[in-house]
Symmetry: C2
Subunit: 439 residues, 2 copies
């Protein structure tokens, strides 16, 4: 008999998992409280964009979707760091061509995934259906239809909570259990601001991730296919209200950004402040009845650009565990948590550190020297010296393995002494410039 | 007009706070889901005992209760460490006479506090009343009477959640706020076992805290006034079920304990397994309407014997903040969290470390040497060298200040080198033995 899985939440994790489960022959029902994104017009579905990198790409490629998605993305070949004194030096990503990020609209990604899932037998999406309660013993969800409030109860063989950081499936699944839970809100929040195209052409270098670093405020911007960019302004939460005149604030802090954002004042007034939460939690599953995926089991601060990528990668890991234990959902779920959680825990740590890096260190000469040494070593020792950022963003090396390796590399760098290292490297560089094959 | 404060929970924190608030002229109502402990007979109110130390003593003395309480306590002058090979060397606490802990039955402590609070004008206790909901805007509690289920709503000027680690006041107060929450269950749980008096006299040294350390199981026992001791067996949670024959297990692991526990098999079968949780959380208050105290805002593992002591100390800090801001509960609550939370956060860290110490290190020769060096330095440099354990257990130095000082001392010890230190100390010791006034 075909087993039926109920997925709550049609974000990146829920929609990709629907595709994977359908391929394994499950009947899949996805319940999403928001309307079908395909039925909304442009204005209604104003979408954020996200940086898609190696892990997400691999997971999407696994179900054969990248060919459809590539045309919907814009490559980001490196970072453009906007300095307060003016100028925006461009740092290419990684040491090798091809190590680039890709900006994609959340709406485009989700829509592609929904279309693909729906085309497979046994998959149905139920939009405007909100989970209001869960019976974890029965794998049953209680839903309310948005608008009408009509109530509905559906029972499956298992329920997957893909309902994001404030997962109701998680809350109800874990109720009364021995739960480890670590939740933190960052003191900083965010607001979206647009860099619109100027008469059809881009106002700044398009194929880059733009960063305006700062201790008290920072901006990150990703490009869109229509030559606009979407900026995200990060500030200590209470600052948003204190700033009476955003243009004046920008003139003082981000002088070169103000020319790029003609709608700054209006958007600043109208766009809500988003909050940033980090969540590590356990357990991720309840027997063979309920499991969590994506932000529902590991929300991270967005400063490594990995939240969605990790959520997509989760699907691959869970899918593999279902393959290894085809007749035992409980074992598959347990194995999935065992294999996956150590890595998303590390991602949480790294995402917190990268906030500090963006905020405090991006402009520090020591940090820049360190980054340069890293990139240089990567060129000199291809495949043997891989900077942490590269491993996280441009490879699918599991997060914890990447960190362990970076720590070994760090120890070597520290041991050699940064200063001695720099001198030696300069010498090596000169000699390889002269005769070496690689530079 | 007299302001009315509603306290939920009549544990150590709630009952002491009732006394403090009454002294400040508040009207106080305390709601407790359990029956009045004064109405239960011995058997019904089987009570755990707790180690009362300097902080708790200070807080209780502040409201003039120690004279009533002293006769209800048993001094613990040091630790008796039971070694697997037999023998139980006694380590006195601290370097100075008077640095001792006091064992008290929870029931005796609470009863004394309730009697004292009730004797003051404006204080009422409402037993068998369980909080079922909280309206944080209105400072109103919704209660159900145990047994009858009768519902009751009471409104005050503010509500204090003193309802322990799984505080419902906390859950409802924090709902939807930007909450930082760190909760962990220890992999180990506990079970109480009695060392009854033998025909009226104690079976082992009474005035000591007994410890049977171990990597895979440990026991801690406190004395009672009737010459019995109450032991707490700590084990990895799943082990409790696996042990089919507790006597056999004890014979192998705690051979000298088996003779002390004639009811071992029966108690092992009948007593429930307790779980140990650590909680750090924020915020501790909601405007001027709701605040948390005791385990409700900082539950710690019991291995430093400080949970209740810290909860009692909270009352003193909150009371002082109410004194500083007599007309502004909101400021008093905010100030209380600002002053107090950094210290209970440190206690959480220390309590986790002390588990490792009890489990792994108590028997290690290096650790014993370090302890000895610490005690010796404390004797040689009275008031200037204070071991961490002494500062936590035998002083009221705020927890974080104690840790900071211990770290400075540690750095010195490390810097001097443990080995060199030991030699030098031995020399100093010999010379002070000969001519010094202190040893
Ligand atoms: C400012 C910002 C920038 C980011 N940038 C990046 C980036 O560049 N790269 C990257 O990889 N990640 C990024 N992320 C992280 C990324 O957005 C998330 O990790 C990702 O969206 C998680 O996917 P998900 O499917 O697990 O959860 P979500 O995307 O949160 O989806 C959950 C879905 O469940 C639905 N839902 C919730 N509750 C219910 C309910 N009760 N009933 C029914 N449905 C429900 C929601 O409506 C939603 O559709 C960023 C995040 C932020 C905040
Ligand atoms: C095994 C063990 C050993 C320990 N040993 C020590 C020790 O030696 N020294 C030490 O200092 N500490 C020790 N502790 C810690 C100590 O027990 C706690 O820190 C202390 O009891 C906390 O006091 P409290 O008043 O904040 O909460 P609690 O003691 O938990 O009291 C909370 C009260 O609220 C009531 N309540 C709960 N929910 C509701 C509701 N919904 N409605 C109404 N009432 C409610 C409960 O019935 C209870 O009476 C130990 C703990 C454990 C588990």
């Amino acid at each position: 008999m075909t087993r039926r899985i109920l997925i709550v939440g049609a974000g990146p994790a829920g929609t990709l998992l629907a595709c994977c489960l359908a391929r394994r022959g499950f009947q899949v029902d996805v319940y999403e409280r928001r309307p079908d994104p395909r039925l909304l017009d442009e204005e209604e579905s104003r979408s954020i964009n996200l940086g898609l990198s190696a892990r997400g790409i691999k997971a999407l490629d696994d179900i054969g979707l990248m060919d459809t998605l590539w045309p919907l993305t814009v490559p980001m070949r490196g970072r453009a760091i906007h300095l307060p004194g003016g100028g925006a030096p461009f740092q290419p990503y990684g040491a090798h061509e091809g190590e680039i990020l890709h900006s994609v609209l959340r709406r485009d990604l989700i829509t592609t995934l929904i279309d693909h899932a729906e085309a497979q037998p046994g998959v149905s999406f139920h939009f405007r259906h909100r989970l209001v309660d869960l019976d974890r013993e029965a794998a049953a969800v209680h839903l309310a239809e948005e608008g009408t409030g009509a109530a509905l109860t559906v029972r499956g063989d298992a329920v997957i909570g893909a309902d994001g950081a404030f997962s109701q499936v998680r809350a109800r699944m874990q109720h009364g259990l021995r739960v480890d839970h670590h939740q933190e809100f960052l003191e900083w929040g965010y607001k979206e601001l647009t860099i619109p195209a100027d008469d059809g052409s881009a106002r700044t270098r398009l194929e880059a991730l733009h960063v305006w670093p700062g201790e008290d405020a920072l901006i990150v911007a990703h490009p869109n296919r229509d030559n606009s960019l979407t900026g995200t302004l990060f500030l200590p939460v209470e600052r948003f209200e204190e700033i009476a005149d955003p243009e004046e604030f920008f003139r003082a802090r981000f002088p070169d950004a103000i020319g790029l954002m003609p709608h700054l004042a209006k958007e600043y007034a109208e766009h809500p402040v988003g909050h940033l939460v980090s969540i590590r939690t356990s357990p991720w599953h309840y027997r063979d009845r309920v499991a969590l995926i994506g932000d529902a089991c590991h929300a991270v601060y967005p400063f490594y650009g990995q939240g969605m990528n990790a959520s997509l990668e989760d699907c691959t890991v869970l899918d593999r565990c279902l393959g290894a234990h085809p007749d035992d959902l409980g074992r598959a779920f347990a194995e999935y948590q065992r294999l996956r959680k150590p890595h998303t825990d590390v991602l949480d740590e790294l995402s917190k550190q990268n906030f500090v890096e963006l905020r405090d260190r991006l402009r520090s000469p020591f940090h820049l020297a360190r980054k340069k040494a890293d990139l240089l070593l990567a060129r000199l020792l291809p495949g043997r010296w891989v900077p942490l950022y590269t491993m996280i963003s441009h490879t699918t090396t599991p997060y914890a393995d990447a960190l362990a390796r970076a720590r070994r590399q760090d120890a070597i760098l520290r041991w050699a002494g940064v200063a001695t290292g720099a001198v030696a490297l300069a010498a090596v560089r000169r000699s390889t410039r002269k005769g070496g094959p690689r530079c």
